[in-house]
Symmetry: C2
Subunit: 201 residues, 2 copies
């Protein structure tokens, strides 16, 4: 019994991962409206029956997919944060890391989900807490990597502004590719942060 | 002939305006996917035939609606800009004005259009130039009201960052209502801009 149960669990886990990855790909390629459970099970190579067993509705699938990718990308962000250089160029490197994070496919998939949730109360009830949790975690990570002291007046707002800035840049990037513009803006913002966070500390 | 032509033109103009306003309302209430030409003609009180004559497809209607509202809101923004106070609180007032602009229904309607255009090549071909034009106009207005001198190094990027920041705040506001958070962030950014733009001038 034990010898067969473990491979079964692994197969289930792998199948769920394929479904979630196919969902994210479809959200990025076709948007929320163009993503269907049929397309997802086809792309993942999973039977309709198995897909429906694990994720009965499109909303279940989409939410689980974005949550899954958020966890994966959160881990990637933590790894990137651990590899950041020290010294005078650190803040620039932090902002470029955040800029890359908010222009990645997971941002695009999440954007599709946010916009769909805006006019879908059921989806919104699930998306809003997820979004708040992710927002808190990203904020905490940003405070850590910047070495910001939030007990000083105004520092918390500058960190929040930094995350709203990269969110705005991420939204702009979905329509026009503007990597060089983005880099100039982020480098300039890094100069501001370096001055302001030093003043405050 | 002339006596009857003018009222006819007025009726046509009024009918088109009703169609465009109904479209924006539906984009805000139901999103892009939930907006149909049938719903729009019903809400506007315009016959299907007349609606199809002026706007043959949903994309025509949605694009014209967002362009129309952009013009209206551009005029509103200019009027608000003309009424801004002078003196030390001016920059705060500028940022609050921009913050209000990017959390208004026209931002929400435009967001629906942007996200739909991301995965619809026909729509994107029309949305991208509109978005670029609006971006340039908003940038120019912001430079004017801040009295920013873009010939100084770094000033252009600070103005761009300001607009990306309010875009990010606008996106956040579609999921969670956070007017007081937004105000604290914008006030803090106003302090930064005041220092930086004075340094540069």
């Amino acid at each position: 019994m034990t010898a067969t149960r473990v491979p079964q669990e692994e197969r289930t886990r792998a199948m769920r991962a394929r479904l979630l990855e196919a969902t994210v790909e479809l959200l990025v390629e076709r948007g929320f409206a163009g993503t269907s459970t049929t397309l997802v099970s086809e792309r993942a190579g999973v039977s309709r029956g198995a897909q429906l067993h694990h994720f009965p509705t499109k909303n279940d699938l989409v939410l689980a997919a974005v949550e899954h990718l958020t966890v994966v990308r959160g881990a990637e962000l933590s790894a990137a944060a651990a590899a950041l250089p020290g010294g005078p160029r650190r803040t620039r490197a932090v902002l470029r890391m955040l800029g890359d994070h908010f222009t990645s496919p997971v941002f695009t998939a999440a954007l599709e989900l946010w916009v769909a949730a805006r006019t879908d109360a059921t989806l919104l009830a699930a998306v809003a807490p997820l979004e708040q949790r992710v927002g808190r975690e990203t904020h905490r990570l940003t405070v850590d990597v910047l070495g910001a002291d939030e007990s000083r007046p105004g520092v918390r707002e500058l960190v929040q502004a930094t995350l709203d800035l990269v969110r705005g840049l991420g939204l702009a990037a979905t329509i026009t590719d503007d990597a060089s513009r983005r880099r100039r803006i982020l480098d300039r913002w890094a100069d501001v942060l370096d001055t302001r966070l030093q003043e405050a500390s």
